[in-house]
Amino acid sequence: MTDQETSYRQAEANVVLRQVGKPLERTDAVGKATGRTRYAGDYTMPGMLHAKVLRSDIASGRLKRLDVSKARALPGVACVLTAEDLPDRLAATDMPGQTGQKRAATDRQILVREIIRHHGEPLALIAAETPALADKALDLIEYEIEPLPGVYDTASALEPDAPIVTEPDNVVGKYKIRKGDTEKGFAAADRIIENTFYTQFIEHAFLEPEVGLAWVDENGVVNIRMSTQVIEHFRFIADALGVPHNKVRILGAMVGGGFGGKEDITVELYLALLAQTTRRPVRLAYTREDSFVGHGKRHPFSVSHKTGVTEDGKITALEVTISADSGAYVFLSPYVLLYCAVAAPGPYRIDNVKIDAAAVATNNMYTSAFRGFGAAQACVAYEAQMDEIAKALDLDRFEFRRRNFMRTGDKTATGQTVESAIWADECMTKALDALGDKPADTGTVKIGRGVATYQQSYGRITWFHDTSEAWVGIEVDGTVIVRSGVTDIGAGQASALGQIAAELLGVGLDDVVIYNSDSAVTPLAGTTTATRALYMTGRAVHTASTNLRERLVAFAAQELDARPDEIDLANGQAFVPDDPSKSMSLKDLASRGASEGLERSELAMFRAPFTDPIDQETGQGPVFPDFTYGCHAVDVAVDTETGEVTVLKSVGAHDIGQAINPQAVEGQIEGGALMGQGYALSEELIYEEGKLVSPSFSEYLIPTSMDMPDIQCIILESRSGLGPFGAKGIGEPSLTPVAPAIANAVADAIGTRVFDLPITPEKVVQAIREAQR
C-alpha cells in the first residue's frame, strides 16, 4: 500500500535500531509519576518577594490617573513599578532568532503609559513580602481610565474611520500566493463551490500557569528560573532592562505544558524588572485567572474558499481569502498568517491557486502562537470544503480526496518540491480501516463519520536560518551526558535526545543523563516550538553522537586490533560482531581513552535548510524544511433534538517518518485528539467589547475524561523526514486534523453544516432547523 511509484529521500535504510523506535520509559517518567519533578513554581529562595501584576479591566482607554502611593506605603510592600518608573524601553513581541534580527516597530509598551489597547494590559507591578500583601497592595492602587472607542472585529478595523490600534492602518501582515492561472482554472471547471469557515479565540489551558523566580547574582547577572518554551528570550529581556545580553540568564525547569502559550515573553520581563529594582529574589506565579488574561490566544480566522471542480472530481482552481484577528499587538501574527496561507490548499494537487491573506489589529486580546499556528485554522477550512464539494458533486468524500491528493514528489502551492514521502492517502486509508463499520442510527440519534487529512510543516520558516546546538560526552565509566538548551514542555523532548545518544553510543537510556534548558551553560538549541525540537536538536545530538562514536570506534579498533568498520557499539560494549574474542566494555574504552587524551565530548550544530524569503508578489519559493502528512478520523453520535455531540471513536494515523519513542508519539496523538475535540465542540473565549467574559474553567470548557472516547494511534514510518533517523514532526500535526474531522462527522450525521466553531448543541439544532426550512 505504500507509495512505490516515486522514490523519496529515505534515511539510513536497513539499520538495526536498538534504542530508537522502542517505547522506552522516558527519563522524566518516574519523577513525574512520583511527584518529585521540580517545576518552576517549586523553587523558592530565602528572603524572596512575591509579585503581582495589575491589569486593565477594559480593552480600550486612556489611563488618566494611576496612584500607587497607598500601595507603596503599605508595610511589607517592597516595590511598586509603573511606566513612570521605567526607562522608555519596549518589550519585543518577535520570535527569538539566533541571528539577533528583529522586525521593526512591532514591540509593545512594557507597562501602560497612556493608551490601553487590550483587556489585561499591565498597568503596574508589585513586589511584597507575602502573596497576601501583594494582593492587598493591588487593591490599594487607584486608577482612572477614560474609555476610548475601540474596534472589536476585523471588518470594522478596516473601515476608513476605524480607530487605529496598530499604525498605519491596522493591517499587521499580508501574504499573497499565486500559482498557475485561476481564471483559466475556473473556466475549466464544471462547478464552482464557495464557502466561508470561521474559527474562534481559544486558550492554551496548559496545566501549569506561568510562573518564575528571579534573582540578581553576585556577578550582577539577572537569573530567571521559569516555565517557558523559549529560554532565548534572555536577549530581549536584556534589551528591555538596558543591560548586555550576557547579564541575563534564563533557566528552565520541566514545563507543565506550553502549546505556544509560553512561546512569547510572559512573567520573565516583570520578574527581571522587579529583581533588578529590589535586588531581592522575586517570585511571580500567575493564578488561572491571571493566565487567562495574561497571554496571547489562538487567532480567530475567517477563511473563504472558492473551488473549481470538474464533474469527475478534479480540482481545477482554488481561491482562498484569509482574515485573522491579531488583537492589540503584533506578536507572531504575520507568521501565523503565513502558515495559514501556505497550508490553505491542504495536501492536494492544485495547479491554479490564488491566496490572499491579511492579519488585522483590533482591541481584542492579542493573538499569537498556538499549536498548529495558523495551519490548524487552514485545515478547519480546507477539509470542510473538501466534504462540501464531494457532497455537491455527489461523490464519495474519501474517493474525492484520493483523486486530488498530493503524491510523493509533488510540489506545494508555493512551488516547493516535497522531498519526503507524501502519505496522506495511506494515512487516511489506515484511519478509515481502524474505524471499521459505521454504527447504525438509533431514533433521533444520528451517527456521522468524518476524516481530515493535512499537510503541516515541521521546523521553522527557512529564511529564519534556524540552528540548534548540542553537546554529547562520555564519562570515564562509560556513562553518557547530553547537554542542550532545549526546553522540555512535557512531550519528552529531553528523553528523546537521550534515546538518540544511547542508540549511537551503544548504551541504554538509563546510562544517559540530560542537562537542558539553561541559557548560560547548555549549548543554545533554539525554541521548543514549530514542531522543531526533535528535528533540530535531535539532529544536533545525532551529529555530536556520531562524531563521538567515530572517535570511540577508531580508538576501539586500535585497542582490539581490528578495522574501524568492523566495530559496533551496543549494550555498553565495543565489539566485532563476528569475533567474540574482540570486545571491550565502554567503561574500559572510555577510561583507556581518557588516559590517552582521547577527546570524549563533541559539540555540534545542526543547520536547517537556509533560503531567501518567498517572492512578495507570487509567494513562490520554499517556506519550510519539510512537511508531515496524516489523517484523523472519527465517528460521532449527534442527538438531533438537543444538538449534543458525542465522539464515539477517534483515530489518528500519521506518517511521522520514524518514531524515536512510539509511546511519546502516542502521547502527542492522544493529546492532539483531546485538544482538537475541545476546539471543535466546546472551547471558546468570549470577548465582549474586547473584555474576556469567560475567564475560568467553569465557562471555558476543555474536554474532561468523561468526554473522551477511546483514541487509537496509528504510526506510519516512511523514514523519509529530515529529523534524526528519518523522523518528521508530530507535536503540532497531531492536533491539526482533529477539529475538522469532528466537524465533518457532525455534518455527515445531520446532513448540513455548522460553519463556525465551536459546534455547540445550540448551533447544531439551529443548523438542522435552517436546513429543514
Binding site: 502573596p131 474553567f697 474536554p703 468523561m706 439544532v765
Partner: protein
Amino acid sequence: MLRDFELDMPADLQETLACLPGGTPLAGGTNLLVDLRARRESAERLVWLGNIDAFRDIKIEDGQAAIGGGTTVGDILRHPGMERAAPALVDCARVFGGQMVRNQATLAGNVCSGSPAADSVPPLLSLDAELCLASATQVRTIALDDFYTGFKKNRRSPDELVTGISWPVPGPNTANRFYKLARRKGDAITVVGVAVTVTRDGNTCTDARIALGAVAPTVFRAKEAEALIIGETLTEERVDEAAQKAKELSDPIDDLRASADYRRDMVQVLTRRLLNQAWQSLGEKEAGR
C-alpha cells in the same frame, strides 16, 4: 487569592448547632470555597460539618428513604438501594460534576446553594423530598417544594442546618428519570435539567411530577403541565401538550452557555422525551408481568 477566614470544627451536632449563629456551614466546600476565592461570598467564620456522627447515613426502610445531611453525591452512586429508591437521583449522580467533585459535594450543600442549575434539586423535587432543618432550639421539616423563595434564596434561617433529606420510595408502577443537558459531559454547569415522575395504572397516569432546572430563578415544578397528564393516558398528544406547557412555564435567561430560546425548546424536547420513556418503561413492565 482565598481570603483568611475563621474555621470552627465542632465535635458533634449539638456543638455545631451552637456554632451556627454567625457561622456558615462548610460541607464539601465545592461551592463555598470557590465562591470565597472569587469574592462572591464574604463569610468570615466557617463551621466544618465533618465531625457530626452518622451524618452520611443512608436508610431505606418502610417505603421511606432518608439520607443524612452530609451525604455526598458519590455516596448516592455507591449505595445499592438507590437505583430503586431514587432512580432520577442516581441518573443525576452519574453526570454530576466529575469524580473528584462527586466524592466531595454533598446533596445538602447542593440544595442550600440554591443555584437554579443545582442538579440534585429536580430529582429531589420529582420525588417529593422533604428537608429536615435543625437549630439549637428547634427541629422542623419543610417540603423542598416550599423551600425556595427566589434566586439563591430559601427558607433556611442562618442558624439552621439541613440534617437530612427524605422522600417516599417510588412504587413498582412509578418511573422516575432525570436528564442533564450541558455543553460537555463532565464538570459542566447545566443548560437544562429535567426530572419526571410518572405513576401508571393500566392505561392511566395516576400521578406525575415534572421538575425543571436552570430555566427560571429557582428550580421549580411545572405543576400546570403535571395537571395536563394526571388522570390521562399518555398518548403522543397528551405528552406533547404537557411538554408544550412546561416550555411555556419556563422563564430562562440568555447566558454564555445558551440562549433563552434554546433552553425553552429543550425543556419541551426533554420533557416530552422523559415522559415518553417513563410511560413506555412502565408499559413494558406491565406487559412483562
